[in-house]
């Protein structure tokens, strides 16, 4: 479309006279726009998510300096993220009682989830995004600075966490949404996408960006498989058709099936982060 009159041509061969003037400094700028020849190019070449990426990189360095392994938990609303976290806190209390852990809870409104996490026995901070559909790296950095994990191993950026400090786990529960949060790096070690079997096995095909961004897919609510039409093998095949490296765990956060394997995965990831 033509800048000057919108006639569909990109050069000065449009159907209106080419004499166009712009008058600045005389109140509101004229409604007319200058001809292309009067314009100059301002090079930008900037990634739209570049500012978030810088903050995410800073978070990642900050987490590493504090010996913190962070996971970004992503799913649609109602998949059981908070229930899984409550079950995880209880199971880690048995398996690794010395392991400090905390949760950053992202929701549009309310502190209901942070209250549930605290009742389960872990430190939690609620981030309400208002109308925002995702957490960004700035929100997570601000929230982390207010958590006790931030001070538990206070060797700051640039200094690797000393071996004698216990490692720590940070769960970032993103806003329930299978679309938007896929794009925002928060500084996490891995994105974990949680899909409950009540949602349907075709979600990886419908929301491929999320399943492409994740390192692990947790299939939750498997205790309900007898009551729903959900083909586990087909779901995994579709997900790996998008992301061949995707790891998959199946569990029921309410009944406890598969929780120990999930805890194994978390503890193994900490070991790998510590060794790195």
């Amino acid at each position: 479309m033509c800048v000057v009159c919108g006639c569909g041509q990109v050069n000065e061969q449009h159907g209106t006279p080419a004499v166009v003037e712009l008058h600045y400094g005389q109140g509101v700028a004229s409604a007319s726009l200058p001809s292309l020849s009067a314009l100059r190019v301002v090079q930008i070449e900037a990634d739209v998510l570049g500012a978030n990426q810088k903050l995410a990189d800073r978070n990642r360095a900050h987490f590493a300096a504090h010996g913190v392994t962070a996971y970004n938990l992503l799913s649609s609303p109602g998949s059981g993220k908070t229930t899984l976290l409550c079950a995880t806190i209880a199971a880690l209390g048995q398996r690794a009682p010395q392991l400090p852990l905390a949760v950053i809870e992202g929701d549009q409104q309310t502190r209901l989830d942070a209250d549930r996490i605290q009742a389960a026995g872990a430190a939690a901070i609620q981030v309400n995004t208002g109308r925002g559909c995702h957490l960004d790296a700035q929100m997570v950095g601000d929230a982390f600075a207010r958590l006790d994990l931030h001070s538990h191993s206070h060797s700051h950026i640039g200094t690797p966490a000393a071996d004698h400090h216990p490692h720590a786990l940070l769960f970032i529960e993103n806003v329930g949404n299978l679309v938007c949060p896929a794009l925002w790096d928060l500084g996490e070690a891995a994105k974990v996408v949680i899909l409950s079997v009540t949602e349907g096995d075709d979600k990886p095909l419908k929301y491929p960006d999320m399943f492409a961004a994740a390192q692990l897919m947790v299939l939750n609510k498997i205790d309900l498989l007898p009551y729903v039409s959900f083909d586990v093998a087909r779901c995994i095949a579709w997900a790996r058709g998008i992301n061949p490296d995707l790891q998959v765990l199946q569990l029921s956060a309410t009944r406890g099936d598969g929780i120990e394997v999930w805890i194994d995965w978390l503890l193994q990831s900490i070991d790998e982060a510590r060794a790195a």
Binding site: I44, V48, C180
Partner: protein, 113 residues
């Protein structure tokens, strides 16, 4: 509707450039939104027009280049074009493919008076 957040970031990038460069109005904003960048281009346009009022972007024409996604097909041992991460290889139908291009969401340049 993350396009609204992205539009706000685009406006911030343009306003930073305006502060550096001194222009007060933008005639043309050129963006690149690759097919695999996770953005709905129509929604991004709508969001940009919604937040442009009263800013240097008001009235600006917006061109969005949409290069296709690029992916490596192991079966064909070739790079192929795709338009979604869920697409199979357009030559042999194989999945999975390894996406290797078309992820970018960038502000390219501006035309200003």
């Amino acid at each position: 509707m993350h396009e609204l957040s992205l539009a706000a970031e685009i406006l911030r990038i343009v306003q930073d450039a305006a502060a550096r460069d001194g222009f007060r109005q933008v005639a043309l904003l050129r963006l690149e939104a690759g097919a695999l960048c996770g953005v709905e281009v129509d929604a991004l346009r709508f969001a940009l027009s919604a937040i442009a009022q009263g800013t240097c972007l008001a009235g600006a024409r917006i061109d969005i280049e949409q290069p296709p996604g690029r992916a490596w097909c192991i079966e064909c041992a070739a790079e192929v074009e795709i338009f979604s991460r869920a697409d199979p290889c357009p030559q042999c139908g194989a999945v999975p493919l390894r996406p290797c291009g078309g992820h970018a969401l960038r502000v390219l340049d501006l035309l200003v008076p």
